[in-house]
Assembly symmetry: C2
Homo-oligomer: 166 residues x 2
Amino acid sequence: MLMDEGIERVNQIIPSLPAMEARLCRLALMTGSRMEEGLAAKLKPYKLNHSEFLTLMILYSLPDGCSTPGELCELATQGATNMTRIANTLVKRGLITRGSSKEDRRRVQIRMTADGQRFVQQMFPPMFPHIDGLFADFSEADKRQLSRLLRKLAKNIDEINEARMP
Amino acid sequence: MLMDEGIERVNQIIPSLPAMEARLCRLALMTGSRMEEGLAAKLKPYKLNHSEFLTLMILYSLPDGCSTPGELCELATQGATNMTRIANTLVKRGLITRGSSKEDRRRVQIRMTADGQRFVQQMFPPMFPHIDGLFADFSEADKRQLSRLLRKLAKNIDEINEARMP
DNA sequence: ATCTTTTAGTTCATCAATGAAATATAAACT
DNA sequence: AGTTTATATTTCATTGATGAACTAAAAGAT
């Protein structure tokens, strides 16, 4: 792999580099961005991007198919600004509606429309072969291991990132 | 974890969902974007973004500290357009120079300046504790496993992505 | 030798995401 | 009641990345 040679050479100039860990960093970053690319390609025919798709799936997964921008921000780990844009485009496409709550009139009610539900049910299943394909040559043990290690890594990242901005 | 409940609920509505694999996808995507965030935060004080940092490190790792935009695009997996922007900003900061090649006058020679080398040598080592911290509670076996599984996943993604666009 | 095709790099227009500030409503305090 | 504080959302300006169209040089074809 190309990356390894590069890190190897840097390691020769800067021997204090934690080479194994640096490689894992690059690897996780690369894998992440390749996954993003692949997902984007899969979503393109439906004219959705990752955050719009994610928001739609979250809304679909909620028991009543109904939420608020603030809650969706948390669940999809998106900024409020971006959520406004997402909601705008999804409303424009008739997949969700925006209404104002009666109890707390600051709140905005976002709910999935019947069209939205049909849309998710149609566009999601065709992605399954692709999802399966990614792990086709993974044993069950491999999958469990990867899940465990990624969760561990994600936890560490979150702790470090939170330590920085409290 | 929040994600698991969501996938669990979707799985109840759409039982054909490959739940384990979908979870791994989400996990890889999340981990990737958290890594990006963390890296961006680390680079901010140096007013660099990921692609600029990567380009700089690649150039630093090359034996002669010298390359062309085209080669850098490949090594950093960046688009040509973006590489032009990257080179512009790095030239503006005096970290690299752009000159034209004499053999092939289409080609642009990009080379790291002495300032650029000093800059990398100063800004890179302080990132090591952070890099180490990410894997602090990983055993050596964990690291090897994660490396193996991520490479495997990355390979599968590339194969699938290339199959789509030949 | 000229005409066409290919390659390298850039410019321009656009999109997605973000931070800072603005607005609106509700809750808390005095 | 009136002011302050907190919460939810939107607007605006900026950044980073990308695709399409463009320019210049080299390679290949007739």
